[in-house]
Each structure stands twice: as C-alpha cells, then as structure tokens.
C-alpha cells in the first residue's frame, strides 16, 4: 500500500485548529473569574444576559489568544511546548488566524455591548488590546518584567463580569483585579523556572533567562507578599465577610509556604523542580478557591 502525503498548507484549516487558536485551556480560569465577578456583583442580571456576558468574555479571551498566536507563530515554532500549535505546525496560514482573531474580537465586544452595557464592552476591548498590543507585541519580547504588567490583561475578567451587571466599577472588582494582577508573577515564574530552557531557545526575555534563577526565586517571594496584601484587602476593607476572609487567610498562608520553599530551593535541573511544580499547580487552585469564596461570601452576607 502506498501512503499519500498531503501538504497541509494547501488545505483549508480544520475547524478544530480554529478552536485550538483560542487556547481553550487558558480560558477556564478567565471564564471562572469573570463568572465570579458577575455573581458577586450586587443586583441581578437576567440569566440569558449573564450567560451572554460570560460567553463574550470567553470569546474575547479566545480572540486575544488567536491574535497572540498569529503574532508569535515564529517564536512558537522554536519552543517544544508550543511547536504543535496550528500556525507553527503549518496546519493553518497566518492570515486565517488574523482574520479569525480580529473578527472574533469585534464580535465579542459588540455582542457584550448590545446584551449588557457599553462600559463592560469597553473594558473587554481594552483587555483584548492590552493583551495583544501591550503584552504580546510590546513587552514580551523586550523586558523580563513582561508578565508583571501583561498580567493586567488576565485580571480584567472579574471587572468585566461585575460591570456587565452593575454598569459601573466599584472597590471590590478593583480589589479582585489587584489579586489576579499580583498573583500572575509568582504563578508564571514558577512555570518559567521549569521551562526556562525553552524560553531561552526562543529568545524570550523571561526573568529566569535574564536575571537568573536565584533572582527569580527571590522575586516570586516578593510578589507573593504583595499578592497576600491584595488577597486580604477585600476583607480588611470590609468588602467581603468572614467566609472569604478565612479562605483567603488559609489559602494565602499555604501559598506563602510553597512560595517560600521555591525561594530557598536551589536546583537547576527542571526534572527535579518539585517545589516549583507544586507552587504552579497550587496557584491555579488558589485562584479558584478565593474567587469561589468571594461569591459564596457575597451570597451569604451581602
């Protein structure tokens, strides 16, 4: 039997590759934090409009992911973790990804504006532009602090969810924004420590590549301290009650223990970076826990 090889570049891209372009796995956290912002907001929203708001946040995040992959196709090809994505693997042409990303951006923003209000739509538009232009195009290839400022893009969803219900932005959504903003550096640098070699190959100035591992470990600890302050702020400012307060206190204490272990760990072999992997995995659970607690707390006490 003869095998037929087909040049995938002449083929129309598979619909699954368009789905992959939206980074569905990253989206779970975005959707969850957006949903929590929406559920924690005072007053109510019609379930269909609430669903539409979350859908728009997810579509906006997907659009930003697609534009990110459109811009970084050559960099992605150099990293093992990303080489299998539709563009570097040659399963889709770049223009399709660009059109898909731009189209999805406009669609998500306009739909959110029509279904809820234009403040929420404007914040969604800002978050997409921030992720694509400020983070992907400007900061990521230039500075090792890229994800510190770029983390703001991922911090917008609870603010959008809140604004979709109330039409304004008050202290609690800002506090939730700050929590994700300061959570991003320790979360991401824990990952960067054990995939450092990959970033170095692609020429991305991730902190472990530029400043070294020890400096990165110190910075993880430093940002954990700031994150702890942000995590406790909602309860100290009396924006939430004891359910969130207790969850945040215990969750952050455990986060600090894991971050401390990473900060004093001296290991360069990614295979043996157990505390780093543990911190990375726990950081995701941590955010789910705290945001879940905000909602429960608001429902019980507000």
């Amino acid at each position: 039997m003869t095998t037929v090889t087909i040049d995938t570049r002449t083929l129309p891209a598979h619909w699954r590759d368009f789905l992959a372009l939206t980074k569905p796995r990253v989206m779970t956290l975005v959707v969850f934090t957006g949903l929590c912002g929406l559920l924690a907001a005072p007053g109510g929203i019609h379930p269909i409009l609430g669903f539409t708001a979350i859908l728009c946040i997810a579509l906006g995040a997907g659009a930003a992911g697609a534009l990110n992959q459109w811009y970084e196709a050559e960099i992605d090809a150099k990293m093992k973790r990303t080489a299998g994505r539709p563009l570097p693997a040659g399963r889709m042409d770049r223009q399709s990804a660009l059109h898909f990303g731009v189209g999805l951006s406009f669609f998500s923003v306009i739909l959110l504006g029509l279904a809820t209000n234009w403040l929420a739509a404007m914040i969604l538009a800002i978050s997409i532009l921030f992720y694509v232009i400020v983070y992907t195009m400007w900061l990521k290839p230039r500075t090792a602090q890229n994800i510190v400022i770029g983390g703001a893009a991922g911090a917008f969803p609870p603010v959008i969810g809140w604004a979709a219900v109330t039409g304004d932005v008050s202290a609690l959504p800002v506090a939730l924004f700050a929590l994700i903003f300061f959570w991003t550096p320790p979360h991401f640098w824990a990952l960067a420590l054990f995939v450092k070699t990959d970033y170095a190959k692609a020429g991305i100035p991730m902190l472990p590549v530029i400043a070294g591992e020890i400096a990165t470990r110190r910075q993880i600890w430093l940002y954990t301290a700031i994150m702890a302050a942000a995590a406790m702020a909602p309860v100290l400012l009396r924006l939430t009650g004891p359910i969130y307060g207790t969850t945040a206190f215990l969750g952050t204490a455990l986060f600090a223990v894991f971050a401390f272990q990473v900060s004093v760990h001296r290991e360069s072999d990614p295979e043996r970076m157990k505390p780093e992997r543990r911190l990375f995995k726990y950081s995701i659970l941590y955010l789910f826990l705290l945001f879940g607690a905000v909602v429960v707390d608001r429902w019980v006490f507000a």
Partner: protein
C-alpha cells in the same frame, strides 16, 4: 490535485460547513433569548 487530496479538501469543507451551520443556529437562539430578556427587562 490528486483524488485523495480532493477528497480530504471536500471532507474538511464539509466539516467546517457543519460547524459554521451549528454556530449560526446557536446564534439565532442566543439573539432570540437576548431579545426576550431585553423586552422583559423594560
């Protein structure tokens, strides 16, 4: 283009058409729901 390639292209076009059709159907339902919710709110 060989017959095999043609077959593959057709298969992809078909699957994309089905997905686009389903998405459009879902959008019709969504816009209907949004309209009803908006009217109910006024």
């Amino acid at each position: 283009m060989t017959p095999e390639e043609q077959k593959e292209v057709r298969a992809r076009q078909r699957s994309r058409s089905i997905v686009v059709g389903l998405l459009l159907g879902a959008l019709v339902i969504l816009f209907y729901g949004i309209s009803i919710a908006k009217i109910a709110g006024h």
